[in-house]
């Protein structure tokens, strides 16, 4: 019963946040100047019927939403218009149909571009996060166990340093090093690899993903290490660790069976909070290594002023982060049986 309430609370919060993001995404791209399709309408060189055609094509002839005719500048209008015939409603229904508009640059549906790219980002973030968590946890356990020794100070300093590195700059430095050592420096695969056997193809992808993943791992490992260290220090000074020691368990058994799970609880929260930084990291890394993912898509569409693609990517990223947060919350409630009884 309590677990159900917890689930319902978390899920409804995620739904609410997604709704806020939908609204933000809709208005943000209408309020801010800069979209050629919308600002181009004011171009005096265009003929009147051409302007009208553009307006109809993008649905701009319809009121934005009930009571608001236009934004930027805001013009209030009739509140009694058919809500089904407003820009906002059409935007939402199109989204549910999976339509996110057409790219200005390639004339392809935005959804199609995103589906093609999202897997590359998931691959990169997935590999990077898993490695960063594994190494961060291991080094964090070591640092806490050997607290106030040289090992601990070295680990602490190097993780503070790793935190201070701008992701894109570390990428550039590794790119420099990689290109000097014969590693591929751009993209996901060598052109023409598709005719090779799949083992070679995978080996090729592995060579391409090595540097981006390494960058990712270094940048995120430091923080996970710090969190793990400090939360393990807290756990190891708890009374139940003394109980475990009194029971005659070895140091390794205590770390493995009594401390690790408890100490990793804060880590789950941090991983969730970090998802925003994760996306920021991916954006920078994909740009530096020309990795064909969502981050790279943002960079390209900004430079090409390809606003439908930008809008779609932005929405997809935000919704994914919200869902990932939800998953983290649910994982937490599974790991810590106390959560359900408290909240």
């Amino acid at each position: 019963m309590k677990r159900q309430q917890y689930l319902i609370k978390k899920i409804s919060w995620a739904v609410f946040t997604i709704a806020v993001v939908l609204i933000l995404n809709f208005f943000l791209f209408r309020i801010l100047p800069g979209d050629p399709a919308r600002s181009g309408i004011h171009d005096p060189r265009l003929k009147k019927d051409a302007v009208e055609a553009i307006r109809v094509r993008y649905g701009l002839d319809k009121p934005v939403i009930n009571c608001i005719e236009k934004v930027n500048p805001v013009v209030f209008g009739g509140c009694l218009v058919n809500p089904l015939d407003t820009q906002f409603f059409i935007y939402v229904t199109n989204l549910f149909k999976g339509e996110m508009g057409i790219s200005y640059h390639t004339n392809r549906p935005v959804a199609e571009i995103l589906v093609e790219r999202v897997w590359n980002t998931i691959l990169l973030i997935g590999a990077g996060q898993v490695l960063a968590i594994i190494f961060g946890v291991i080094f964090g356990i070591f640092a806490a166990w050997k607290a106030r020794t040289t090992i601990d100070y070295a680990a602490l300093l190097s993780s503070l340093l790793a935190w201070s590195l701008p992701t894109f700059w570390l990428g550039i430095i590794l790119l420099f090093w990689g290109s000097a050592n014969g590693l591929p420096i751009a993209g996901k695969a060598t052109p023409g690899m598709s005719s090779m056997p799949w083992t070679d193809q995978w080996a090729d992808i592995l060579r391409h993903i090595f540097l981006p993943t390494l960058t990712y791992t270094i940048v995120f490992m430091g923080e996970y290490m710090l969190i793990m260290r400090s939360s393990l220090l807290d756990v190891l000074s708890e009374d139940y660790i003394l109980t475990a020691k009194a029971k005659g368990l070895s140091t390794f058994q205590i770390l493995k069976d009594h401390a690790r799970k408890n100490a990793m609880l804060p880590l789950v929260t941090v991983i969730a909070i970090n998802l925003g930084f994760t996306v920021a990291g991916a954006l920078q890394i994909e740009t530096v290594f020309s990795w064909p993912g969502l981050g790279g898509t943002i960079y390209e569409s900004v430079n090409r002023r390809d606003f439908p693609v930008l809008q779609g990517t932005f929405l997809l990223i935000n919704v994914s982060v919200i869902l990932a947060n939800l998953i983290a919350d649910l994982t937490y409630s599974y790991l810590d049986p106390r959560v359900q009884s408290e909240s």
């Binding site: 607290a147 201070s164 701008p166 009194a246 609880l265 947060n325």
Partner: protein, 642 residues
């Protein structure tokens, strides 16, 4: 005279700052960070004086100057426009720092106001503001920054504002929780009671206490703002007229520094960012340690080696017909901290525990009882050390055991019922699982179902039904948890059980149940129990012998009848006076004035002398020896000599 007074006042007034500065300057991390930060700020301020070249003009630059490697003329080479990288770097510091500080100022201002308003006013306002903060916290910063900056004009001012307007979420959360904590403190309630207005309370009572946290948070916000600006610039969204470090990297990366092998144009600006952010991070980390110091010690740190000494020649005491299980001879345990006198927690304590015996260990808090008990299994924190004496358990010397041998004695030979079972049980593992673990560790391996049978049997022994086996500690009541702790302590059929105040924090009915349970288990299983307690009533009722400790030493040790009927040590006598006697209800209860001595600053003479009602001059000068009174009775008091 008056001048002296004034001077004194000034010193007194500035002392909190001086204290802070003292601890701060001892924190190497914080000092290094501050120095790094100040250096780069000076470089930015005196850019004109430091930079060897004027970066505003392109005069005298030819195409041959592009990407020239470092030389005497150009320490860090030249960039894609043939300009001196070092000079650009110095002016870049100015722009990057300006953006960082201004944007962070905006963020902290907004976050501070939202946090204080939410925390202070509470109710619906708080709910609304915090929901808003939560939504903003979930939405990733950088894509939003990119979208907004890409759609507005790339002017430095715009960038500062956008970064500032998006970076306040962490601040508002921290400020809110601190405000909430401060709001209900006494002095705020008092100020409100005498009619202080909200603004007055916020300005004079809340802000000063929120400030330290805000400073630490500001350092984080500044470094994030600098990182965000450089990322935006690197992505080509910066102000093209303001050559920040990020912009330098953007130009170099986009204009062929990589293929030209011009590493200097890529490395140098990045090092600037790392320098500032690392400086800020070190400063922030150090400040946090200074403002919120924590002892970084834990239970798994390696203990100090035992100092092997021969036990003193005090002959074994308390012989009885039953075989001896545990014999402690002249045991001394000190806590050692660098640069401080050792805390002499236990000194020259001896006792003997026989099979089936229940010994009471009595004394106020801070008298070394717990240290002594943990010492029997060498379980104290890393600072503790056995500096003398022996512990013999069933004929084996515990002080000379290897780590591996110790692991075998723990729980299997001697187990502990810890006080406060809520904290002593692992909150994320089921009770059954924690009992099972002890059995598997020590008892010869049985098939799985037999271990479970044993767990059920143990729980049954303490009156917990089998259906509670797979429950977590938080699902148990306080009394059940303590009983589960007892079941766990009995899991491996130990010879000796140490019960460390097993009934504190429980209500009287449950206390009685637990004590009855322990006593019946002792009789059924033939356990020997050391019972650590404040409760002399329990001792009188259950124990065979009593050890009274004071300030780390034995005050008196004897069988229970002797202690109750003819105690000789004044401390024991005072303790007994503090305990209600049902046969003399008209007698007033007495308490002992004062507190036990600090174990790192013990008096020169008898440790109880400062509080002793019958102390003579000698008591303050000379430590009393442990006097043998008759057979089983010892007491450490000069007055028993006569």
């Amino acid at each position: 005279m008056e001048a002296q007074l004034v001077e004194h006042k000034v010193i007194a007034k500035s002392s909190p700052f001086l204290d802070f500065w003292k601890t701060f300057s001892r924190n190497r991390m914080a000092v290094v960070g501050l120095v790094m930060l100040v250096t780069i700020i000076l470089v930015a301020v005196f850019a004109e004086q430091i930079a060897p070249y004027d970066v505003t003009t392109s005069a005298n630059i030819t195409s041959r100057d592009i990407y020239k490697p470092p030389s005497a003329a150009h320490w860090f080479g030249t960039d894609d426009a043939g300009k001196d990288v070092f000079s650009n770097f110095i002016y870049g510091a100015r722009i990057s720092l300006t953006v960082g500080f201004f944007a962070a100022f905006i963020s902290i201002f907004i976050g501070g106001i939202i946090g204080i308003v939410a925390g202070f006013y509470g109710g619906r306002v708080e709910n609304l503001l915090m929901r808003f903060t939560d939504v903003m916290l979930v939405i990733p910063d950088l894509p939003l920054l990119v979208v907004i900056v890409a759609m507005t004009k790339p002017k430095l001012m715009n960038i500062i504002f956008v970064i500032g307007l998006l970076g306040w979420t962490t601040t508002s959360r921290i400020v809110r929780s601190q405000t909430l904590a401060v709001k209900s403190r006494k002095f705020v309630l008092r100020a409100r009671a005498i009619g202080a207005g909200n603004m007055h309370i916020i300005r004079h009572h809340i802000l000063p206490l929120v400030m330290p946290l805000l400073v630490v948070n500001a350092i984080l916000v500044i470094s994030l703002a600098i990182l965000n600006e450089s990322t935006l610039s690197f992505l080509g969204l910066g102000d093209p007229t303001a050559l920040s470090w990020g912009q330098m990297l953007n130009f170099a990366f986009g204009r062929g520094a990589m293929s030209a092998g011009a590493w200097w144009a890529l490395v140098v600006p990045g090092l600037g960012i790392v320098w500032v952010v690392l400086g800020l991070t070190l400063l922030g980390h150090g400040l946090e340690q200074v403002l919120n110091p924590r002892l970084e010690t834990h239970h798994l740190m390696p203990g100090r080696p035992v100092v092997q000494t021969e036990a003193g020649n005090s002959s074994p005491i308390l012989r009885s017909a039953r075989p001896v299980l545990l014999e402690v001879r002249d045991l001394s345990i000190h806590y050692i901290t660098e640069g401080k006198p050792p805390a002499r927690a236990v000194e020259n304590v001896s006792f003997t525990l026989h099979e089936g015996e229940l010994m009471g260990l009595v004394g106020e808090s801070g008298c070394g009882k717990t240290t002594l008990m943990l010492g029997l299994l060498r379980l104290w924190p890393a600072a503790g050390q056995i500096v003398g004496g022996k512990v013999h358990f069933m004929g084996r010397d515990v002080t000379a055991m290897s780590e591996q041998e110790l692991l075998d004695v723990r729980w299997d030979g001697i187990s502990i019922i810890f006080q406060g079972a809520m904290n002593a049980l692992n909150p994320v593992r089921t009770i059954g699982d924690q009992i099972r673990e002890a059995i598997i560790k020590h008892v010869a391996i049985l098939p799985g179902d037999k271990v479970d049978d044993r767990v059920v049997e143990l729980l049954d022994l303490v009156g917990i039904t089998a259906d509670h086996k797979e429950h977590f500690p938080y699902q148990y009541s306080g009394g059940m948890r303590q009983r589960a702790m007892i079941a766990m302590a009995l899991a491996c059929n130990p010879q000796v059980v140490i019960a460390d105040e097993p009934t504190t924090a429980l209500d009287v009915m449950i206390q009685a149940q637990i004590l009855e349970l322990l006593d019946s288990l002792r009789k059924r299983l033939g356990l020997s129990i050391i019972f650590v307690t404040h409760d002399l009533g329990v001792v009188a009722e259950m124990c065979d012998s009593v050890l009274v400790m004071y300030g780390g030493v034995t005050a008196e040790y004897s069988d229970v009848d002797t202690i109750y009927n003819s105690a000789r040590h004044p401390y024991t006598q005072e303790l007994l006076k503090a305990f209600p006697d049902l046969s003399k209800p008209e007698k007033r209860l007495a308490s002992i004035p004062g507190y036990p001595p600090r174990l790192d600053a013990l008096p020169a003479g008898c440790r109880f002398a400062p509080r002793c009602p019958v102390a003579i001059e000698r008591c303050h000068l000379e430590q009393p020896a442990l006097h043998r009174l008759n057979g089983r009775h010892v007491a450490s008091c000069h007055l028993v000599e006569e």
